[in-house]
């Protein structure tokens, strides 16, 4: 049993909270990835020096430290590189329905995406299985334009 202190009558504490929020521009690199999600396409960066492909797109190769200005569409489906099952939410309450989170990679591409896996039973999940995206009707250039992935049957 992990002890959690959340009753404060016996010790003197002062409560407070973080103020403010954040707005992040995607930048020159990742903007290309997210813009193409609107067209339901997945793009990767290609380094002209080492010819490696990177998802999400970026404007520099971290190994060669050269600028990247070539971007290619990746047409095939990603595969499950790793996965985990979630039973609790961020506040330590039980989830109504447990969730599956996957790390998906594309063949011959560096990097990948973390996302949710749905329409799947827990015992069906296996490393190596290919997955397809299910997109939102109205897309805006955001990771949630992909509602979830599901195993390609």
């Amino acid at each position: 049993m992990i002890e959690k202190i959340d009753k404060f009558d016996k010790i003197k504490v002062l409560k407070g909270e973080k103020m403010g929020w954040h707005r992040y521009t995607y930048g020159n690199g990742e903007e290309i990835f997210f813009k193409n999600l609107i067209d339901k396409k997945f793009f990767a960066s290609k380094c002209k020096n080492c010819e490696k492909l990177f998802i999400p797109t970026r404007i520099y190769c971290e190994d060669c430290f050269e600028e990247i200005n070539e971007f290619v569409e990746i047409k095939d489906l990603p595969y499950i590189y790793s996965y985990t099952f979630l039973f609790k939410d961020l506040e330590d309450n039980d989830l109504k329905e447990p969730e599956i989170v996957v790390f998906l990679k594309w063949e011959n591409v560096e990097g990948g995406l973390i996302h949710r896996l749905k329409e799947t039973n827990f015992d069906e999940v296996e490393i190596g299985l290919k997955c397809e995206p299910v997109f939102k009707e109205k897309r805006e250039g955001n990771i949630n334009d992909i509602l979830y992935f599901r195993i390609k049957k």
């Binding site: 002062l14 407070g16 403010g20 954040h22 690199g29 990742e30």
Partner: protein
């Protein structure tokens, strides 16, 4: 200890909000520095990244996040942070990476992306105040500066118009800086500065540096590595740093003693006995107009209370012949203030001045030694670096 040389420098444009992410800004600055040094990333042994509070960019472990943009993938990496003092602290950290003999080359990158912080970065700053005794009062960042400025003016009886001259000088100098943030440099009169919108009296809008995104980078190398290049090198001659107590309401704010202690450390290392004669150009940290004068006194380049009087005589002007040009770059008031990158921008200015590459900003008098200083935290830290030919 090994001698350390500066081989190259890089800067991005400074702007209120850049499209680029922090990583991309860091990449542009780092790449530019490597190109000037004539090196590739594989020639760099270690990387130091300096960046101010994670809260601005809204990311935890900001150093690690920026690391690939700094060229640090699969390399020894260290992130340092002392608030606004970070810019100069970065070069100090890079210096001891090499002076220890452990590395031959070090890339130092400073980055800041304050624009991510909403509704305004000033709100994010409130977390520097004590959560028990100060935040419940509804604090604003500018309070500490206006309180310090008031104390400085009251103790030395300095009129507001004289302090405003710093803003006039720096914003004019900034017109010649290619990276300056749009709308920040300009030709202003003392009246315009004094009568601009009151933020926290006695601080008016034109006496405050803006919120900025930007990055800067510098390549350092050991004596043996630098000598291979055969060019006239710029050397780090002295470094110093000092932190004062965070009980800032218990200190007399009219004098930054922590800047003096940091300066003394640097002067001793550089073998400087008479800073007023031996420092030829200076870039003191100027987030607010009065701060430049406050720091010049802490750096022992002027007696206590004398910096404003010398300012009136043109002693700190860029084209002075007998004085010490101060903030020839335009400083934070004239170029912009991406917290950590601003300090490194000042170091880079001293580097360019010594190399004769400062273009329209080149100072008139001959320069062989320059000093850059940064300041930060809760009126707490002084970081100083002395560069020489």
């Amino acid at each position: 200890m090994q001698k350390v040389a500066v081989l190259g420098a890089g800067l991005t444009k400074f702007s209120r909000r850049a499209k680029e992410t922090g990583k991309e800004l860091a990449f542009y600055a780092a790449k530019m520095a490597l190109e000037e040094a004539g090196l590739e990333i594989k020639d760099i042994d270690a990387v130091v990244c300096v960046s101010a509070p994670d809260a601005f960019d809204g990311l935890h472990r900001k150093g690690e996040y920026l690391s690939d943009g700094c060229g640090a993938s699969k390399k020894p990496f260290m992130r340092c942070f002392v608030g606004g003092g970070s810019g100069v602290f970065g070069i100090i950290s890079g210096w001891y990476h090499i002076a220890s003999g452990h590395f031959n080359t070090c890339l130092v990158v400073a980055e800041e992306k304050m624009s991510s912080s909403m509704p305004h970065p000033q709100g994010t700053f409130n977390a520097i105040y004590d959560q028990f005794l100060e935040r419940p009062l509804g604090v604003n960042l500018l309070w500490i500066f206006s309180l310090e400025m008031q104390r400085y003016m009251a103790v030395h009886k300095i009129p507001l118009e004289v302090i405003a001259l710093v803003a006039v000088k720096n914003k004019k100098n900034g017109l010649d800086h290619p990276c300056a943030q749009e709308g920040i440099p300009g030709n202003y009169t003392v009246e315009e500065v004094v009568n601009s919108e009151i933020m926290c009296w006695p601080v008016t809008r034109l006496m405050v540096s803006p919120v900025t995104d930007g990055a800067a980078a510098i390549v350092l190398a050991s004596y043996d590595f630098a000598k291979k290049f055969g060019k006239e090198n710029i050397w780090i001659e002295g470094v110093g740093w000092c932190l004062d107590t965070s009980y800032w309401t218990n200190r007399d704010l009219y004098y930054p003693r922590y800047v003096e202690y940091a300066a003394r450390m640097a002067y001793e290392m550089a073998g400087i006995k008479d800073p007023k004669k031996e420092i030829h150009v200076v870039e003191p940290y100027d987030p607010f107009a009065y701060k430049e004068l406050h720091h010049l006194e802490g750096l022992l380049l002027a007696d206590k209370g004398e910096a404003p009087r010398l300012l009136e005589k043109g002693f700190w002007d860029r084209d002075t012949e007998n004085g010490i040009p101060s903030s020839p770059s335009g400083g934070l008031l004239g170029v912009g203030n991406p917290i950590a990158a601003a300090g490194l921008m000042k170091v880079i200015e001293i580097y360019w001045q010594l190399k004769g590459k400062a273009g329209k900003r080149q100072v008139k008098r001959e320069v062989k030694r320059g000093l850059a200083q940064a300041w930060g935290d809760l009126m707490q830290v002084g970081t100083v670096v002395i560069l020489g030919k």
